[in-house]
């Protein structure tokens, strides 16, 4: 059980990183155009042929 003392703070650190990444993404408008960005990777691939 003692391992929990280490694991829970570790989980909290990961939670903090995840939240930071999420806010970073929201503030850069990553959730605003979900249709077009999903296709982008397809276009760039074909571009190289």
């Amino acid at each position: 059980m003692a391992i929990i003392i280490l694991l829970i703070p570790l989980a909290l650190i990961f939670l903090g990183i995840a939240l930071w990444a999420l806010f970073w993404a929201v503030n850069r408008g990553q959730f605003e155009d979900l249709d077009h960005q999903a296709w982008r990777v397809v276009f760039e691939d074909r571009d190289d042929d």
């Binding site: 909290l12 995840a18 939240l19 806010f23 503030n27 408008g29 077009h36 074909r46």
Partner: protein
């Protein structure tokens, strides 16, 4: 030979060919051909392989069109309002795009704009139809706009940039709060689950403490950052002495958080961090859904307001200059070219022309105007060149005032919602009183217990489900309507569809499209080397590029390629074929009405001065009109037709569509009166119309629908309007309204039943707070889910 245009997919009656020797592709018009050639030149042919839907027709090749479309980039002060400086000393500009059809368009635009000198980066947003440009040369925006124009996309400045930026900030903040609440609530729930299950009974107390502290750590930002809007709302309500539903919410949040802290300090048995976090998450979820809906409708309204041009040609001492329309003052002289939309009410000083007032009055055929005549803002100069004097500023015009009134009408609230706002303060007081009574009732069994029960009452009675039942269902209905092509300006009218007894239609522009087609032709000379088809092809060649609505009847017909040097005349057009002049135009000798085809307009084709062919053209009945009227009749509604047109065409149309009754030569007042009488005799009526002459009837009707091409005044008077040309969406309206009503009833019944059941139990002290939070969340969730089912509603007929 007829084939599909390789760019836009429309039928190309006489295709132009683009491409190299290996591959030659057909195009329907010079615009599309130019766009295809440019795509090829830029090495972006992949666009045609990647796109999932055809491009819009790039029919914008005329020099005048291009000059007008790009004119706003000639006015630096207009651009300056929209530009922002970036940290690197460059400039950022957001532009509105039109003509985007799929994600491949975004790719094409980004690639095509990227190598223009001065462009640092280009980003497109398909959902918002926007282009964000970062650049460092003053002439870059104009160059980008020019290239996109050639590709067939329209580029303009977005209206209301500050409002848009504010909406975007609000959206992002709420999304961030929602995400934090969601993640935090799940974490808090995870740690509490361990406490509830009793994993730590018998083990060391240090673990119990650890889990509680972690719960506090996770829940605190959720309550105070994500839940901040509720505290703000409660404080605002209290200060204004109008406590809304935010007050019990904030109270419950504060009590749950502070109470848990006190319990932790005093060594009490329970903490409620998870309940508080969950509570915030579900409330934010519904708020977020509502905000998205509101902003989407707001964007659709915005397009309406952008009907007037942003720039005009102002003449000053023989000099002509593009200026922002807002700078026009009474008395300024402006020049209007063919195709221009008038930005201000004005009087003609010089020149003659045909003016289409369809946007203002609903009259489909352009009217001739001469010096001294007034023209209204929003009308379009179909043919000719005019010099006019402004009779007022942009904001003084009828169209601008309508736009303003439309904006104000947006603030109108649902009657059901208004009732709720009146009840909310009473409800709040009752809930707080109930909690206080509970606290006193259970005081004898110890303060900790009493506090727990009072908290359960607050949480359980949280009015979310009850408060959300109606607005969420309605907003779900509005979403479903939007997907089916109906914009709902007045939600109560959507619900009123359920009680309708009949429908009154307007004719021109509503049941008919306002687009003309050939109904017949007659040779005026004996048989010679030119047969009927050859004569029609000559007429089509002359009319092909004519801006008059009658000329559109020839668009899809084969034309004679040997006709050259076609010029647009004041009335009609003229061209040369094998050295002989041919002319087409109205026949001045023949009076309207005494023709073979009643209700049709006539044109004459001349070879030199000799009349060769007479043509009749008629406004076409919309192809879907029959199916739609049949669907509406199945509802048991009586269908009627009221038109300002003559008896003959009105009777013909009513017979075609098997309508119950019709009236011709109706003035706007008569239409309104007839509707009033029908309402008194039969019950609620729906009015469907498009013109200014339908406005009185639209205002008198219980449900009013304006078509997509309707004039501004008709749209203002209407409660619902169709977003796409055609009547198709009308057929789904009854089913949608029924679904919406059923959703509201289900939600209200559920929320009421839940509260009636849970409150007595909570007051009696039989509901622990965690169960109360679970029940409250579940009831809100069910209401939200049920409303989202309405939003996903699909018409079985489509």
């Amino acid at each position: 030979m007829t084939m599909a245009c390789a760019h836009c997919g429309e039928t190309a009656a006489s295709p132009l060919y683009v491409g190299n020797d290996e591959e030659r592709l057909p195009a329907c018009c010079p615009g599309c051909a130019g766009a295809m050639a440019l795509v090829h030149e830029l090495g972006l042919d992949n666009y045609y392989r990647l796109r999932t839907s055809n491009a819009g027709r790039a029919d914008q090749s005329g020099d005048a069109d291009r000059a007008r479309g790009l004119a706003l980039f000639q006015v630096p002060e207009l651009l300056a309002e929209h530009e922002r400086a970036t940290v690197d000393g460059e400039r950022r500009l957001t532009l509105s795009l039109s003509g985007l059809t799929c994600a491949a368009c975004c790719w094409l635009i980004e690639k095509a704009a990227a190598d223009i000198p001065g462009v640092r980066s280009v980003g497109t947003d398909l959902a918002a139809m926007e282009l964000t440009l970062v650049y460092h040369r003053a002439d870059t925006p104009a160059a980008v706009a020019e290239r996109l124009w050639r590709l067939g996309y329209g580029v303009t400045l977005p209206g209301d940039p500050r409002g848009r930026a504010r909406r975007r900030r609000e959206e992002r903040r709420l999304l961030g709060r929602l995400a934090l609440a969601g993640i935090g609530a799940m974490q808090a729930m995870m740690y509490s689950a361990a406490l509830y299950i009793g994993v730590f009974e018998g083990s060391e107390r240090v673990y119990l403490w650890l889990f509680r502290w972690v719960g506090l750590l996770v829940a605190t930002p959720v309550v105070f950052y994500a839940g901040w809007p509720f505290f703000q709302g409660a404080w605002r309500g209290l200060r204004a002495r109008r406590p809304g539903m935010d007050v019990p919410v904030a109270l419950a949040l504060l009590l749950a958080w502070a109470g848990s802290l006190v319990n932790m300090a005093l060594g009490g048995s329970h903490v409620y961090f998870d309940s508080a976090a969950m509570f915030v998450f579900f409330l934010l979820l519904s708020r977020w859904l509502e905000q998205r809906q509101r902003h989407r409708i707001g964007a659709a309204w915005q397009q309406l307001k952008d009907a007037l041009p942003l720039v005009v040609r102002r003449c000053h001492a023989d000099q002509e200059q593009w200026v922002a329309s807002r700078q026009v003052r009474t008395g300024d002289q402006l020049r209007l070219c063919q195709g221009d939309v008038v930005a201000v009410d004005a009087v003609i000083l010089e020149g003659r022309g045909q003016v289409a007032e369809a946007a203002v009055t609903g009259e489909p055929l352009p009217q001739p105007r001469a010096p001294g005549d007034a023209i209204q803002a929003g009308s379009r100069l179909v043919e000719g060149t005019l010099r006019v004097q402004a009779a007022g500023a942009v904001d003084d015009s009828l169209v601008a005032r309508i736009a303003d009134q439309v904006a104000r009408a947006r603030g109108e609230r649902l009657p059901v919602l208004r009732d709720w706002h009146r009840i909310a303060p009473l409800f709040t007081v009752a809930v707080v009183l109930l909690a206080a009574i509970t606290l006193m009732m259970h005081w004898t069994s110890g303060p900790a217990h009493a506090f727990e029960h009072a908290l359960a009452v607050l949480v359980v009675t949280c009015p979310c489900a009850l408060a959300l039942a109606v607005p969420l269902s309605v907003s779900g209905g509005l979403g479903a309507a939007l997907r089916h092509g109906i914009l709902v300006a007045s939600p109560s009218q959507l619900l009123a569809v359920n009680g309708l007894r009949g429908v009154l239609f307007d004719k021109t522009g509503t049941l008919t499209s306002g687009r003309f087609h050939l109904t017949g032709h007659q040779r005026l000379t004996a048989i010679d080397e030119l047969d009927d088809e050859a004569l029609l092809a000559i007429a089509a060649a002359l009319e092909r590029h004519h801006p008059h609505p009658l000329a559109r009847a020839f668009d899809s017909r084969p034309f004679d390629p040997s006709v050259e040097a076609v010029e647009v005349l004041h009335q009609g057009a003229r061209g040369r074929r094998h050295g002989v002049f041919w002319r087409i135009g109205p026949d001045p000798a023949i009076e309207h009405g005494e023709s073979l085809f009643p209700g049709s307009s006539q044109l004459l084709l001349f070879e030199g001065t000799r009349p060769r062919l007479r043509l009749w053209l008629r406004d076409s009945t919309r192809p879907e009109a029959l199916a739609v009227t049949r669907a509406l009749r199945l509802q048991g509604w009586r269908l009627r037709l009221a038109s300002g047109d003559g008896a003959e065409p009105v009777a013909t149309l009513a017979g075609e569509l098997k309508l119950d009754a019709w009236r011709a030569r109706q003035t706007p007042e008569q239409k309104g009166l007839w509707l009033d009488r029908l309402t008194a005799a039969e019950g609620p009526q729906m009015m469907v119309g498009d013109g200014i002459n339908d406005a009185p009837a639209l205002l008198a009707a219980s449900v009013s629908v304006a078509t997509a091409e309707a004039s501004g005044l008709a749209q203002r008077a209407a409660g619902l309007y169709l977003l796409k040309p055609g009547l198709g969406p009308l057929a789904v309206l009854p089913g949608l309204a029924r679904r919406c009503r059923r959703g509201i009833h289900q939600n209200l019944a559920w929320a009421l039943a839940y509260n009636l059941l849970a409150v007595p139990l909570a007051v009696a002290g039989l509901v622990p707070p965690w169960a109360a939070a679970l029940g409250m969340s579940a009831s809100s969730l069910i209401v939200t889910f049920n409303a989202s089912r309405i939003a996903r509603w699909q018409s079985s007929s489509s």
